[in-house]
């Protein structure tokens, strides 16, 4: 889209996108000031699914908040479980056995693949293609079956505990996961790349659309595939390693173009890297217990603690303030999508509406995570 756009700010109308709209991936409202099909000003309005997670954290104990973490970003719920478990384990000084760390990594990476598959399906649905959704959901059902064996839930997992995980994995899970890795590796080049990634319609719709520069990412605090699609090599698993990620050999895909195609390619490559991590974790899986020693009623030492984990959407931070009591005194959830969406207003100016929706899809939004 290199044609210069001359906007007429005196001949505009206001168009309301959402909160009920198939393309907004949840209840997001965007107040668009339009000049014909071009956007003059875009203002996202949030809060339509604000569910008071930070207040509920203060109201209950540390353990009582664990189910809430899954409801924020339900697509990568295990990573949200992980972030909360990490910060409380830091604050209370709880040790996690090695087998539990490996199981955490395997399940979190499986969930990351499921999240990227659903993003892929929803993104293409926005662009007008329905069939990829059926293929992606097929693979996603395989992952959900595996995780359901172990965690008991299909979507909103509450699997991690302070000190480990509550249920061990069995041999059928391990053979099932290996079979899934083989299956997905076979399907990725044929179905995902031949059918969709190299499709001329997709390329024309998302190449050179929604350019985000690296400096914009820094000024708005965008992390995750949005930053990696703009040439910034930042992944919490490599830059601020936690759990047993240093044991694995995996790459961080970085694409410098900054357009929607780059963000798309980052996520597709991340699926392959996650498969690598899961394979290595299954090979190196040690024996031992899956729960460490943790007191029944946690009362961490007073102080300010922070933990960062890499979710499918970016760096999730938990800023925890403890006062020595059994409830958290204050929990600030640093949501990656909140920061990613804040650059929408600046980037969407001058874009065609259809391109702006393609750009929004490439940002991978999950609104309950923004509104918490």
């Amino acid at each position: 889209m290199n044609v210069p756009v001359h906007l007429r700010p005196d001949e505009t109308f206001v168009l309301n996108l959402g909160p009920q709209h198939p393309a907004t991936h949840g209840v997001l409202r965007v107040k668009l000031t339009m000049d014909g099909e071009y956007i003059v000003h875009a203002e996202p309005v949030l809060g339509y699914i604000h569910r008071m997670h930070e207040k509920l954290a203060e109201a209950g104990t540390f353990a009582q908040f664990m189910p809430n973490t899954a409801r924020m970003d339900y697509l990568h719920a295990l990573a949200f479980n992980h972030g909360w478990a990490l910060v409380v384990e830091k604050a209370a000084g709880i040790e996690v056995p090695e087998r539990a760390e490996y199981i955490r990594v395997i399940t979190v990476e499986l969930n990351r693949i499921a999240s990227h598959l659903l993003w892929w399906a929803a993104f293409l649905l926005d662009l007008g293609g329905f069939t990829p959704l059926l293929y992606a959901f097929d693979d996603r059902e395989q992952i959900i079956d595996l995780l359901e064996r172990v965690t008991g839930s299909r979507l909103t997992y509450c699997y991690l505990r302070f000190g480990g995980v509550y249920n061990d994995i069995d041999d059928e899970f391990i053979t099932g996961t290996r079979a899934f890795i083989r299956r997905l590796r076979g399907r990725l080049p044929r179905i995902y790349h031949d059918l969709v990634t190299h499709n001329i319609i997709l390329i024309k719709r998302i190449k050179d659309i929604g350019f985000v520069s690296a400096e914009q990412c820094r000024r708005y605090g965008a992390t995750g595939p949005v930053a990696r699609g703009s040439g910034i090599s930042y992944d919490v698993r490599k830059n601020e390693p936690y759990s047993v990620y240093p044991e694995f050999d995996f790459d961080i895909p970085v694409f410098p173009e900054g357009d929607s195609m780059a963000r798309y390619m980052v996520r597709m490559h991340e699926i392959e890297q996650s498969l690598r991590i899961i394979e290595q974790a299954l090979d190196k899986l040690p024996g031992g217990p899956v729960m460490g020693k943790a007191p029944k009623m946690l009362k961490p030492e007073a102080g300010y603690y922070y933990s960062a984990v890499e979710t499918a959407r970016g760096s999730l931070g938990h800023r925890l303030v403890c006062d020595g009591g059994k409830n958290p005194y204050k929990l600030k959830l640093r949501s990656p999508t909140f920061s990613n969406l804040s650059l929408f207003g600046e980037v969407a100016e001058g874009m065609l509406l259809a391109d702006a929706l393609a750009f929004m899809g490439s940002l991978d939004l999950v609104i309950p995570e923004i509104d918490r």
């Binding site: 909160p19 009920q20 709209h21 198939p22 949840g26 209840v27 809060g47 339509y48 699914i49 604000h50 569910r51 008071m52 207040k55 509920l56 109201a59 189910p67 809430n68 409801r71 339900y74 697509l75 659903l118 959704l133 059926l134 959901f137 097929d138 996603r140 059902e141 959900i144 299909r154 979507l155 909103t156 309950p368």
Partner: protein, 166 residues
Amino acid sequence: MGEENVPTSVVQFAQLDTLLNLCRANSLWPMTFGLACCAIEMMCTGGSRFDISRFGAEVFRPSPRQSDVMIVAGTVNKKLELAVRTLYDQMPEPKWVIAMGNCAISGGPFKVKENYNVIEGVDKLFPVDVYIPGCPPRPEALLEGIMTLEEKITGKRRWPRVQAGC
């Protein structure tokens, strides 16, 4: 109090009504009203494994004016309340509402003392026909909810009820 048959329209077609109800029940067009986590299970139900299309309900319409049933999948907020009411009013008769998930039934995990923002159940806003509990309910539960709604519309159940223990 006893059961009462309240006619839904002024004009009654007698036997033709049975046929019309059968047609309506087997082609329920839901409105895409996935708000939160339950929306993903609704999408899974639309996928090929659980296949809501066998029940005629795969045509999710974005516009309320073209849909029969509003599946409220997710939490309704004080900020969203007016929008939800407007959407319900915009749906043409005959219309039904399925409250999917604990949040839509009663506020779910957010029905606590500190609740300042969540509406505790969509039946506070408009009448609900079928409640599907779960957090989130399995796709099979949503299909059972659709079948219960069909039973409510036609008076007959399409699938035999599964008995536990056999």
